[in-house]
Amino acid sequence: MELLPWIVPLLPLVGFLINALIGVRLGKPGAGLLATAMLWAAFACSLVLLGQVQAAPGKRLFSPEFVWFNADTLSVSFKLSIDTLTALMLLIITGVGALIHGYSMGYMSHEKNYSRYFAYLNLFVFFMLLLVMSSNLVGMFVGWEGVGLASYLLIGFWQEKKSATDAGKKAFIVNRIGDAALLIALFLIFRHFGTFEFYGEKGILTKAGIDTALGNGYGLVSTTVPILLFIGACGKSAQLPLHVWLADAMEGPTPVSALIHAATMVTAGVYLLCRTHELFLMAPGAMTLVAIVGLLTALVAASIGLAQNDIKKVLAYSTVSQLGLMFLACGSGAFGVAMFHVTTHAFFKALLFLGSGSVIHAMGGEQDMRKMGGLAKKLPITYATMFIGTLAISGIPLLSGFFSKDEILLNAFAGQAGNAFQWGLALLVSAMTAFYMWRMMAKTFSGEFRGTEEQEHHLHESPISMTAPLGILAVLSVFSGYLNPAALKAVAVDLPDTFGHFLGENAGESIAEVNHNTELMLVLASVAVAVGFSLFAWRKYKKATNGELLTEKQRQSGWYELAYQKWGFDELYNELFVRPGKQLATWLWRVADLRGVDGLVQGAGNMIGSLSNLLSRFQNGYVRSYALTMLVGVVLVILTSLLGRGR
């Protein structure tokens, strides 16, 4: 079963091809069943692979390779490598992916382009698997660009809507900014390492490879390369200043937001950093930058989340903010912790998005929380599961989010370049998270219904195909934290760190060590903040039957407005880049091209034109003057050749 690694990504590819070519004939639910079956099959294969990896020497497997292109010393192959970091991503992608595929069969059941939707979804999974399985940077880049394509297609799935195609285009272009940086990182790496392979002889992540590169002058760019990789990660994982596409991406169908824009694709940046952590650890400057950008993103996005009225926008900014925390963990040297948060976040954020999808489904497409309220009774399962998801993300003790976030906070305090100030800011993010999540829950589920009568009439709980995934994800959101319940050490309950043990060296070692009292203080502070702000928001908003805490006038105040307007990033970029860019391009075309470059030629043309008029009044039309020139040429040839022979 050497080929097993290849089977995993090829299953969804086959699903894509079938659905793309004959999906219309498969109809409903055939196309959806096929796509979902491919994902479950891939999940099963991933489980088998997981077993093989743990038994493999060095805990790493390689697939057979297939040379893609080569020239001179350059050789790039399609080749897969699987270690525990990859295996973890495989399980998340295929597992959560399969649940979301199943959910989509219910959610998209009224959609006319049903098979196209599932084709795109399978295509996404194929590229995502390629991204995490490739044994070299170029293969990873293929997946990297490919998930961008799938994201573009799915965001713009409802192509009649201009806002949707705008959002898809924006996502692709902003991502490409990161991709350009990533490409340059690849070129630099090739220049110094002479290979793109991660492992194997002289691989870029091996000691031998790094030593060779240092001998080749890698030291000069050892900070530049990680920074460029990080810029690439900022594009894909929506970090400042490239975060602007993710909120717009909510134009896509909600299951897509759950799968691509919460659980998997946006975590590719974190995966990239963890995969190449050997290069990051050599560059303390780059690490600091990662931590600062991550923390700033977490703060800015959380503050925006406080003021949004669109349920999906709240979740989108929450995702950006949580991703920021993951990068903060990476920057503190705790790559394994970042992956831990990737894992728990995948469960509870997918759950929350799918829950919001269930709400939107029931509301007939309505996403504005100001028109919801009081849905708890009508959507009991959705309510209960989302309640659990919210408990988890807020960091309420003993649920998954508590454990992973606590580790991040600990590392912000005591990890590489960690300090109390950083920890304080991260705690602030945590407080805001609890607040905006419970605000969202209260606005949606409690109080009085604020929608139209017709909407109220149609309110219904979603079908089992949608609620079953919610239930499974809710269970995972509760229990996945016990993979690394380190926070319990503070209260003297020492459970094993299964997760860290599993990842082993693939995600580096966290260096955070604090004494027992400090640890207890940190945990207590984070519990107090999480519980306090959750209760505060929940109770305040529950009392406000109209769902608003602030008066109209208060909402026009500076800070609220700033957060509501998303800190004006879009407007700023429009003024700074889009508008001047268009002006420059128009100027280049209208002035430089048509008058400058072209004008010169026109001028010369006119001159020669009048000259030839003088020479001959009979010769009008260019064919003749052209023929004349050719004739002159031929004469020249003959003359010079005669001269030449005489020599």
């Binding site: 292109f69 001179d72 293929v142 009649e160 340059i184 220049r191 026109q602 020249l636 003959i638």
Partner: protein, 485 residues
């Protein structure tokens, strides 16, 4: 008679027959001629390269004007073979595609396309410099006819520019050719190449001779700032003509750079590399920016070509083997992508009567197959991995980066700009609500087969480029002076 001679003669004769045959039969004769040429051209790929890379059984050398040492001397290596197969492929596609032709103009239309094919194949296979010059110039004539008789009002201005640019460029090249011919007492490419290896022309002289060639090719490619004939000419030509002009004739420029500048004058090319790469990079960015603001899809693709061909020129002059291999591969790729795009545009124009971006939109559900093919070609043009656009561009950028990091970095930002102008265009042309109730016909029959074949090529070249790279690499390695020294 070598198969090459046949390859030039068949389309030329077909053009002649088209001119004499009754109107009704023209399309069939033209299709037959183009198909035969394509099949024969594919046979070239089986050629076995000799020591200097030329396929031994392809060479034919016979006296033409002995007094002037001008011979009919043809022969191909892998690079020219690829260009010839590309030309033949695009010709078949352009001719077979069921475009509507205004009554009474069929002879001119098919005759010109076939003549263009014949002259292009002639130029790609010439091993005598004067013969090359003759074909190089002669391919302007069919373009002239196409633009002149189908372009209407726009054509006059376009043709004037086209004429001036090309003639000035070519005359400069002619002086270089003549100098070489008399210096080496032969116009044979092979003799001159051997001569130059034994006795390299160093310093100023080699540089000026090389630049003499370069000017002509810079116009043909076109390389910034010699490009302004191109958008006008594309706009004036019927779409089938543009398929050949953009897909194949433009490659005569990049092919020329490779064969006559880089291979013949490695030292001078190295000296001129900063200039050429500088112009190429300006062209990459400039073409992309100007493309973004175009209001007509044809002109948009014309400017985007300036950008794409800039990558090829950059790679050729970079002095790095991967970049040169990538550039040669990219010549084929660009021909397929841009040729396919123009075929799609031709069909859209026939359906809707316009290529003005503002008047288009809402095609996705109305012509689903055509729209999906358009999407795939758009993605190929943007250089998405696994399509043909990626590997060549990647190799060019990677290779160039090793010798000219700043230029390659600037050029790499092109991946952003190409996404900007292509996706923005695609959104406005294809997506959105339908503009009218008028029924449109989707791909069917011939058009479906032709474009289906292009889609297959897009992925085949994207996933299995190694087949071609293995053929190209030995030749590319010959022409990478910087690494050898």
């Amino acid at each position: 008679m070598s198969i090459l001679t046949l390859l030039i003669l068949v389309p030329a004769l077909a053009a002649l027959i088209v001119a004499l045959a009754p109107q009704g039969a023209t399309r069939r004769i033209a299709c037959l001629g183009a198909l035969l040429t394509f099949i024969a051209s594919a046979l070239l790929l089986r050629g076995m390269p000799g020591p200097d890379g030329f396929f031994e059984d392809s060479i034919q050398r016979s006296d033409w004007l002995p007094a002037l040492r001008i011979q009919f001397h043809v022969g191909v290596d892998i690079v020219s073979t690829l260009m010839i197969v590309l030309t033949a492929l695009l010709s078949v596609a352009a001719i077979v595609m069921p475009f509507k032709i205004s009554a009474g103009k069929e002879k001119l239309y098919f005759g010109s396309l076939l003549l263009l094919e014949a002259t292009l194949i002639g130029a790609f296979s010439s091993l005598n410099l004067v013969l090359f010059y003759v074909f190089f110039e002669a391919c302007l004539i069919p373009v002239w006819f196409l633009a002149g008789s189908f372009g209407g009002e726009k054509a006059t201005k376009a043709l004037m520019k086209f004429f001036l640019y090309t003639v000035i460029g070519s005359l400069v090249m002619l002086s270089s050719i003549l100098w070489l011919g008399f210096h080496f007492q032969s116009f044979s490419y092979i003799d001159i190449q051997h001569g130059l290896v034994k006795e390299p022309l160093l310093g100023q002289l080699g540089l000026w001779l090389m630049l003499g060639f370069a000017v002509a090719f810079a116009v043909k490619t076109p390389l910034f700032p010699f490009h302004s004939w191109q958008p006008e000419t594309y706009a004036a030509c019927p779409t089938a003509g543009v398929v050949l002009v953009s897909g194949a004739m433009a490659k005569l420029g990049t092919y020329g750079f490779w064969r006559f500048c880089i291979v013949l004058f490695p030292e001078a090319s190295k000296q001129a590399a900063p200039l050429m790469i500088g112009l190429a990079v300006v062209g990459i960015l400039y073409g992309a920016f100007v493309a973004a603001m175009q209001r007509d899809v044809k002109r948009l693709i014309a400017y985007s070509s300036i950008s794409h061909l800039g990558y090829i020129v950059m790679g050729l002059f970079s002095g790095s083997t991967p970049a040169i291999s990538g550039a040669i591969l990219q010549m084929v790729n660009h021909g397929i992508t841009v040729g396919g795009l123009f075929l799609v545009l031709g069909l859209i124009e026939e359906q809707t009567g316009t290529l003005k971006i503002r008047s288009l939109g809402g095609l996705w559900d109305r012509v689903p197959l055509l729209s999906r093919v358009f999407l795939i070609l758009t993605l190929a043009s943007v250089g998405l991995p696994l399509t043909n656009g990626f590997v060549g561009e990647f190799m060019i950028l990677l290779g160039t980066f090793q010798n000219f990091p700043a230029a390659a970095t600037l050029a790499t930002t092109g991946v952003i700009w190409s996404a900007v102008y292509m996706l923005w265009m695609f959104q406005r042309v294809v997506y959105g609500p339908a503009r009218s109730e008028q029924p449109l016909t989707d791909l069917k029959g011939t058009s479906q087969w032709v474009l289906g074949f292009f889609v297959v090529l897009v992925f085949a070249l994207g996933i299995f480029p190694k087949t071609f790279l293995d053929l190209i690499s030995p030749i590319a390695a010959l022409a990478a002076p910087m690494e050898n020294k």
